[in-house]
């Protein structure tokens, strides 16, 4: 075994069986291709890469071989999808290829089809939101609109928006009721909605160990669902409880699915990944309002471009007494509250 240990770094020390198993004895007798491959000098990274690659190749072949129809197209699509890059590293062409591959895969796996966009952030646009706590009546039409727009898991009842019922004169979330079902507005109470505030200085982004979440140039904090490893650090780092985790495979009935999707927005997620409000990125980047803003029957929700001095959101910031939650943390949310 001594001569083996003198080699600089082969694959075997990494695999951890460099010691007395005796399986390496026939090496160096005849240098076959197999031996040449396994005795290459490898760094840790490429070694792990080749192990993972080999495993996937094996599984892929097994899958293709066992499939009764020999569905090579689907296998190829899945293969390419598995080895795609982080969205931020993709060129425009790769983004196009990725979304069309996902569309094709959806068609193969389901009855209907979907339209997935990869629209980039636009120059001169920074999205901001204002919430009028005098106007909100707690009707919660926004929550319903959000769930159906963003294809949230119906089984666990996931919601991005939370409406808090607070007693008049006390803006304190500790005494807030968030589990109410009675006629609203209740006498002597007011309502405050929370969701992802798309912080300009987002702590959730800092803690992600795999760079699966980041802030786009237009200020929206997004998640690459295929890059997320589900460690939930971001969920813990968020001071506003804005992030949600898929504990089980999300269920959205085919007939309720919103087919107008964005890669960083409402495309179907999978088990074990984190998701959150994206100001309806699939809508806002097309000039539309987020679904909650459109659905609000009282006009309590205002959305717009913070960099346009003529926009209503700028008028609110300039003319109303606005505040943000936990401002002292320095997270700089782009979500302001105000009252009439």
């Amino acid at each position: 075994m001594d001569r083996k240990n003198k080699k600089e770094e082969t694959l075997f020390p990494i695999l951890g069986n460099g010691g007395g198993c005796g399986c390496g004895d026939e090496f160096e007798v005849n240098k076959s291709g197999y031996e040449l491959f396994f005795e290459r000098k490898l760094d840790r990274r490429s070694a792990l890469g080749s192990i993972a690659g080999g495993l996937m190749a094996g599984l892929g072949l097994l899958n293709a071989a066992c499939s009764p129809f020999g569905d090579t197209e689907k296998a190829e699509l899945q293969w390419d999808d598995y080895f795609k890059k982080n969205f931020r590293l993709m060129s425009d062409r790769e983004k196009e290829e990725t979304v069309s591959r996902l569309e094709r895969l959806y068609e193969r796996n389901n009855r209907g089809s979907v339209n997935i966009a990869a629209t980039d952030s636009q120059e001169g646009v920074l999205y901001g939101y204002a919430f009028n706590i005098s106007k909100c009546k707690g009707y919660m039409d926004c929550v319903n609109a959000c769930v159906s727009e963003n294809n949230q898991d119906r089984k666990s009842g996931m919601k991005y928006i939370q409406i808090h019922e607070l007693e008049n004169g006390r803006l304190n979330f500790h005494g807030a009721e968030t589990d109410f079902y009675h006629e609203v507005p209740a006498a002597g109470h007011f309502y405050v909605g929370t969701q992802c505030f798309q912080c300009e200085n987002p702590p959730c982004v800092d803690v992600c160990p795999v760079k699966a979440t980041w802030k786009e140039k237009d200020g929206i904090v997004v998640v690459d669902y295929d890059w997320c490893i589900g460690c939930r650090y971001c969920e813990a780092a968020c001071p506003y409880h804005a992030r949600r985790f898929n504990w089980s495979e999300p269920v959205v009935p085919e007939e309720e699915l919103n087919r107008n999707q964005h890669y960083l927005g409402n495309r179907p997620r999978k088990k074990g990944v984190v998701e959150k409000c994206t100001f309806c990125i699939q809508r806002s980047r097309e000039g539309r309002n987020p679904a909650c803003v459109e659905a609000c029957p009282t006009g309590a929700r205002i959305f717009g471009n913070l960099l346009d001095p003529e926009s209503p959101i700028r008028w609110v910031l300039a003319n109303k007494k606005v505040f943000r939650l936990k401002e002292d943390l320095g997270t700089e949310p782009k979500f302001w509250y105000f009252m009439d």
């Binding site: 636009q122 919601k159 939370q162 949600r244 097309e286 000039g287 717009g304 105000f338 009439d340």
Partner: protein, 222 residues
Amino acid sequence: MTSQTFGQTFQIGRSLLLFALAIFSTIFAIGCGGGEHRGPGDQHSVMDQIAVESKPNNNAGLSSERWLEGVVYERVEGMNLDNLDTFFVEHRTEKIERFNCSECHSEPLSAMKSPDTGKVRAHWEVELHHASADVMNCQTCHSADAMDSVQLIGGHRLSLNQSYRLCAQCHSTQAADWVGGAHGKRRGGWAPPRVVANCASCHNPHDPGFPTRFPAQVSRVD
């Protein structure tokens, strides 16, 4: 201490100093470089950033026109404010079920109400829950001899599409918020043109308060 050992000590001291400087500058560079999401030239607060980066009428060429299909709107008039060139309001007349009113109100109200015709009261669903009877009655807004329009307190007649001017007579705070953007509902999307709902699109003018009702969902988030 010999001069040789002093020289060695000096050299060691100098290299230690350089080493410390290198560590300090690395820490400084990392500390001031900030997180990756903070690009160069970014300001400390988002309000400062907005102040620096704002540009008038720059919305990346995005437009709400596409989302305004089927919405009939016109320019806001008579509000004595400066952003009216780019401010539009949704029509009401296309949405009122029994418009034009003159289709029934072909003769003066007094004639239609006379006991000879047997018709004493129509519009049973309309009950006025708006201010007190001392302040308002039907004639505050409706004129008996021009049923297709509403009238201001001074007698000036308006199309129902301009009823926001009627409401603004008393509700000046709400009107200012509406023109600014803090009150009301936007139609289409956030991008220009700015088209908003009329007052009566959301508020029943005869009973303008919002009713209590059961919420559409239970708010619980786990």
